[in-house]
Symmetry: C2
């Protein structure tokens, strides 16, 4: 936080033609020129779209540890190997496996109604034949926390707080995610037999449930947990409003299933001058199973690969290498990102700057950074080149690096945040609706242009961005 006041002043001073001086990181004029050229090329390049199209069509859903996990990795490695990267390899990631076999539910009284629902990650299964219990509803997480266990014991807990659409998707962090992640263990600890919630989604009129992970970590303490579609939550609330006891039946054949070892897939372009320094970017290869993982997060991988591919076609490699990481199992809790941070903490100085794309495929509207103060001029130079793409630079806001890369940022990698317009994202997030048709081809090229520009400029910068100084941990910028 102490960086931020200084940073603002330096940002104002920063221009694309700032003279080089020792203490300050800057980007040479020739690199700025090339970045402008990449920006233009990216807007007419279809590589990213083709990648996410083919990934979602030829592989489809990619639940971590599921049948498509290894298939997706093999598919992506084959694809990357044909694209001019200097090196494609994997790094192992191990995590508890969770499986979804079937799921169904209904309100059984006072009025029988089918429920469209989705079991949540790390949810326990119900006993064979399902379970039926009375529902106790709480207004929000605080009310559940405050409730005496006697009110909860033996009941199905329901939380129904709704999310609304915002460009920055803020209701996911404020409402949707806590209600889904933190709520179930609290209900379980108070003796609830199951936990259901209004989907963490802004599609208020679709009979489509939003899955996602819970905060259960110990299989012995997990209870069945599921999300209802928004109209089904409305229906349940109408029955609750009748004042009569409401009983719900849940039949979830899901649960923990041993351990799985997958891998992060890494593709590298060599640096021409600093073989041990890299710019990190990427997305995550796993997806939730109901959709085909187009916006979450096929797009993220496509954007990073599309950007690196443009850089790969330049007559020569930039000074530093470019590393594209397709992370394993982000969805169940950043397992790929955590493994990457553990594996690379010792060489974090070589991870010069990083940013991951994991909020869909709509346009980037804002950049922020967590870098050393002396690198702000270089960030401001990047901002100048990004400006015509509609990206504003907010020098007062930290940059968290995105979902998985937040983990290595937490151990010292300098990072950007490139905020995408998330207005529509939570309509489709973690649902069967996460499909290719949600990707706007033009918006995708804007993302590719942004990633090509910043990664190339950072790779060509004179001076570093502060990685390895241990100064970014806990700056609260994780996404």
């Amino acid at each position: 936080m102490r960086y931020l006041i200084l940073a603002g002043a330096l940002a104002l001073a920063g221009t694309a033609t700032l003279p080089a001086y020792a203490a300050t990181t800057h980007i040479p004029d020739a690199a700025v020129k090339t970045a402008i050229q990449l920006r233009k090329q990216a807007r007419h390049d279809d590589t990213a779209y083709q990648l996410v199209r083919d990934l979602t069509t030829q592989v489809g859903p990619r639940l971590a540890g599921g049948a498509n996990d290894a298939k997706a990795r093999a598919w992506l490695m084959a694809r990357l190997q044909k694209m001019g990267f200097d090196r494609v390899y994997t790094e192992p990631v191990s995590y508890p496996k969770w499986v979804r076999r079937s799921e169904s539910g209904a309100i059984v009284s006072p009025y029988r109604q089918h429920l469209v629902l989705s079991a949540l990650g790390y949810s326990a299964g119900t006993p064979k034949g399902g379970l039926t219990a009375e529902v106790v509803a709480f207004k929000n997480l605080a009310a559940l926390k405050a409730a005496p266990a006697a009110k909860v014991r033996g009941k199905i807990v329901y939380l129904g707080q709704a999310m609304h659409r915002f460009r920055d998707g803020r209701d996911y962090g404020r409402i949707g995610s806590p209600q889904r992640v933190a709520g179930p263990p609290i209900a379980a600890a108070k003796g609830a037999v199951a936990y259901i919630l209004r989907s963490a989604g802004t599609d208020m009129h679709e009979r489509i449930a939003h899955t996602g992970v819970t905060g259960f970590t110990d299989p012995a303490k997990a209870i069945p947990a599921a999300a209802l579609s928004n109209p089904d939550a409305d229906q349940l609330e109408r029955e609750l409003a009748s004042g009569q006891p409401v009983r719900v039946h849940l039949d979830l054949d899901v649960g923990f299933d041993g351990r799985y070892t997958g891998a992060n897939v890494v593709a590298e372009l060599d640096g021409s001058r600093y073989p041990h320094q890299f710019i990190d970017m990427g997305g995550h290869l796993d997806s939730w199973d109901p959709g085909t993982g187009a916006i979450d997060d096929g797009a993220g991988i496509a954007i990073a690969v599309g950007a690196a591919h443009l850089i790969a076609q330049l007559p020569q490699r930039p000074a530093r290498g470019i590393r594209v990481i397709a992370f394993a199992n982000e969805e169940f809790g950043l397992w790929g990102g955590k493994a990457y941070a553990r594996a690379h903490a010792k060489d974090v100085t070589g991870h010069v700057l990083g940013s991951e794309s994991d909020l869909g495929a709509d346009r980037i509207y804002r950049m922020s950074a967590s870098v050393k103060p002396e690198a702000r001029p270089a960030v401001a130079q990047i901002a100048t080149v990004l400006k015509p793409l509609g990206v504003a630079y907010d020098p007062k806001r930290p940059g968290g690096g995105g979902s998985d890369l937040s983990q290595i940022h937490g151990v010292g990698m300098a990072a950007l945040s490139l905020s995408q317009d998330a207005t529509r994202y939570f309509d489709w997030h973690h649902t069967s609706n996460d499909t290719l048709d949600k990707i706007d081809r033009d918006a995708l090229t804007q993302n590719v242009a942004v990633y090509a520009v910043w990664s190339y400029m950072a790779a060509q910068a004179k001076g570093d961005f502060g990685s390895g100084r241990g100064a970014f941990a806990g700056d609260g910028a994780g996404e």
Copy 2:
């Protein structure tokens, strides 16, 4: 059609204060005044909304012949009996029963993908364990019709023509409905093993399939038939575009299941002067099973009941009676409407004017009529009272009476068409998304106001509208 030229001229002459003369039907001033009062009251009356809310919450889906068929009838009769009608009774309707037990499907090659689909009404089931066959795609119905049987035999036929949104919902009649109704029997006759289509719906980005009836009438000639959600149709088309043979697996446990006798539910307000003359209005009580039948067609019943309820509260009954019909089994082919027409053909003169609401709950923007020329002045008077509600009168267009009432119109009942804005309707039509939240409360009161106005004015008209003259059959106005 020969009425229409004359009608235009008379419509121009028609005003709310037209003097009464023998040959011309008109509405007395006092009735016009009361209609204006009803129009105002309706806009603040919540009766219709409460009815459709409770029907969809307390009963839910109402598949014709299914478990909720009798339940819905009993529920509605009990409700109507408390609402001040003079008579509530049923008239039997018999039809072949069709059941849906389970349905699933997938593309199995070249790339395995789960398919979101819904079996269609009167579809045959697949053999136990499902069937797998290669897909042959046709651009549209004409191409399927023109195809040699050799190209179709043993294959799964796919039609993928898309609908677009229009206020008058025209693509349903032009594309969606023919592709779903006419297509399957044509494919079956050419030896196809199954038929799949792009859902007849305008929600291009929802993984939600639109069910609906096919044209199969003989169980022995039916083949399995199902609709894919729009994004699943896109996925299938991408696989077809790969040029490789595409094989699909379908497992539909559905089919004809004997015969069922249900009933139309009729609620009447007595006429104070003409006990054997009625104004007919209503909707259909059955719905498709995936949703709760809110817009199709709980709303139609609610609108008619809401309107009649306002009239019931007037100090005295209008000259003619008001009849609200909640039709049985519209969805599988107007079974309730056909039974009603058969039962009442002999007394069609007593069905003075009719119109059914069956295109959702959005605002009515246009009125048209099929009446005798001498009744046009009265229709113009109705139009004058409806105008402040945003309803335009098109005197050149026939009025078909709506879905079920089109049948008695076909045997001579004079009829109106009250066209609702269908821009959003086909996003939700015949899907799990047909739920209460799709109903705009204010738009619903506009519909109630329109139905209260026209039905009351017609019930008070001096002179008739031409029912029983045998002149309306085949005027092409059926909806």
